[in-house]
Symmetry: C2
Subunit: 382 residues, 2 copies
């Protein structure tokens, strides 16, 4: 088999464990930084390793358009192309195509969309999305789904969920027939080196549809399950409600991945509900806009109040940014539009997220998860 998942400790619904891949062991719950175009914007790969990143997420849609799947395949896959020795997960492109709004058209067969780069027309099907992901060679790849828009009425949510279920079956069929085509240099020798395809639960905000989607996705049988279709504009309480409801129908012995979430508070909260994997552009994107997460809340480094602040970004953070640089220097770099602002801010935010997840895992192992959550939620939010 491709990946293995072991749960080592439980506390309430939360669990900590290990996801074993061909490119290393991932401790869960894990936060996956987003490296859209085969790079976490501004951060060299060796610094990501130093930060303790165990798995990155990269986007099939972007890589398909540029540099193109064929080029990556010839390099032996994304790991070799981007010189990243640890694990990678690719999304299927479904969510990105969904985000194009006016530029796409959905049929039973697949989705026609226009490139955000040059307006050229493209067609993704479950088969072509999996083919692309096999070419990219990530350790974990995702079924091609339709991300249901918000709001959607029940009829629309069911229709969309049914389409995603049919696409999930087609994704799996194509994967099973082609999974040995992974471009890893040593792939295929033992049969252990293939990729793993995860299924995605949809169903909009309707809890009964979520239950049905979960059960029928599990029938198709995947080595891991994602909860998709959230963070699409719904209120935060609704997200939590859907996650909690969906989780109870997902198998306890397989990894459970909540897509596109969230704030530091949310990644702690969802870990507590039993989520094992999460990803979000928030820490990296916010960093590039000067928004920094600290143990005392979020700060906007562009504010004039930091002009002469000799203190570190976060007194409780041991990252290389907080060890070396002052708030005043970071403020200066941001105000001057310096590239280094984006590099250092991204390093800090990622470090903060990864450190938060380290503490979550430790708390679960010690059975103190609830206390840690109260602590995180009680942080001031300026």
């Amino acid at each position: 088999m491709a990946i293995q998942f072991h749960v080592d400790a439980r506390h309430g619904n939360a669990r900590s464990g290990r996801l074993v891949t061909h490119h290393g062991v991932i401790e869960t719950p894990v936060f996956m930084p987003v490296g859209t175009a085969a790079t976490v914007k501004g951060v060299p790969q060796d610094l990501l390793e130093e930060l303790g990143v165990q798995i990155l997420l990269s986007n099939t849609y972007h890589l398909y358009l540029r540099p193109g799947v064929e080029i990556v395949r010839r390099f032996g896959g994304l790991h070799d192309f981007m010189a990243w020795p640890r694990a990678i997960l690719t999304d299927s492109g479904g969510f990105q195509v969904f985000s194009l709004n006016e530029l796409r058209k959905v049929t039973e067969e697949g989705v026609t969309f226009r490139s955000h780069l040059d307006g050229s027309s493209h067609f993704f099907t479950p088969e072509s999305a999996i083919e692309a992901q096999i070419g990219l060679g990530a350790d974990i790849i995702m079924a091609f789904d339709e991300c249901t828009e918000y709001p959607a009425d029940r009829a629309r949510a069911r229709e969309s969920m049914e389409l995603t279920l049919r696409w999930a079956a087609r994704s799996k069929k194509y994967f099973e027939e082609h999974k040995h085509e992974t471009p890893w240099r040593f792939a295929g020798e033992s049969g252990r080196n293939t990729q793993s395809l995860f299924g995605i639960v949809q169903g909009g905000m309707d809890l009964e549809l979520r239950k049905e989607s979960a059960e029928r996705t599990i029938e198709i049988d995947f080595p891991g399950y994602a909860i998709g279709g959230l963070s699409v504009g719904e209120p935060r309480e609704r997200t939590r409600e859907v996650v909690e409801a969906t989780l109870q129908y997902l198998p306890k012995d397989k990894p459970r991945y909540l897509m596109g979430v969230g704030t530091p508070e949310e990644i702690v909260e969802y870990s507590n509900l039993g989520i094992d994997m999460m990803d979000c552009v928030l820490p990296t994107r916010a960093a590039r806009h000067g928004l920094l997460f600290t143990s005392e809340g979020k700060i906007s480094i562009k504010q004039a109040r930091y002009t002469e602040d000799e203190g570190p970004l976060d007194r409780n953070c041991g990252c290389l940014v907080c060890r070396s640089y002052s708030r005043a220097y970071l403020r200066h770099l941001y105000a001057a539009g310096e590239i280094l602002a984006q590099v250092l801010n991204t390093l800090h935010n990622l470090s903060f997220y990864l450190d938060t997840m380290r503490r979550v895992r430790h708390s679960i192992q010690l059975g103190e998860e609830s206390r840690f959550i109260s602590e995180v939620w009680s942080r001031p939010k300026p």
Copy 2:
């Protein structure tokens, strides 16, 4: 005294030695990367240290405008402000103000100019430029000069040279009266911790004026001398001629700094003529435009021919970029407008320059400088 300079080996006119500063020993000949706004664009300070950067150049004009000298002074100077433990040299602002063209007005007293940031009006004098540089606290600071424009007739070049000489005397006088105001935290305790002020030779492209400028600048007496007013549009052969002529009038026991030069070939050539210190934006600026220096010549990484090139940027380079990444990946990052392109390209170009200077020093020590120069000059230049 502030700095000490020791020549350890000579070969022809070339020499290798050590410049001892309060912030470490600099092996010469040395190339100083440019960190205009208290940052070498895109590169964290710890990576600069790893590259072996021993001294950085930063720009008084830019720092005066943003974040302002007073803020840096309160931090104890640039070293503390930007968390850079090694040596720093600041220019006096003269060259930057000169570059503003239409926005400046020169009088005997000083220069009125408009900020390139917001158009606000400012006035620099030799006294205020030295005051600013004392506040910034670099190890080596520069006299305030007028960079003579090119072309300039003899009368104009003489007039400009005379002004620079009067400003040099005023710069020195102000410095001697205020040099103990250096904001370093431990400054003043032993008297060894003050800064060093270098004089600047001008005189346009006229070799007799250059001789006169050198002799009269030496009369004022500085611990080091710079050759200014070059790389202002003159042909490259002319630059070399002026450097060679000027060098013979500069004292052999003091460091000799050629400002704003040059290509990899030029830094080798000028080292051979007896220059000890150089700076240039070329490696860092070119990197941001995808122009990369290699042992086989300059390459433009944006070219389509690198799309599938699995080889390293430079087979003979051991920098972290060449060790880890392919040309195809670097080309992808550049084409996608990724920040990491600028970070990695800058790291490589700086590494190439620093490695070139390491080889120059080694060649001088072994007496093989001329052979090394032939080798550098015979590189293909695509």
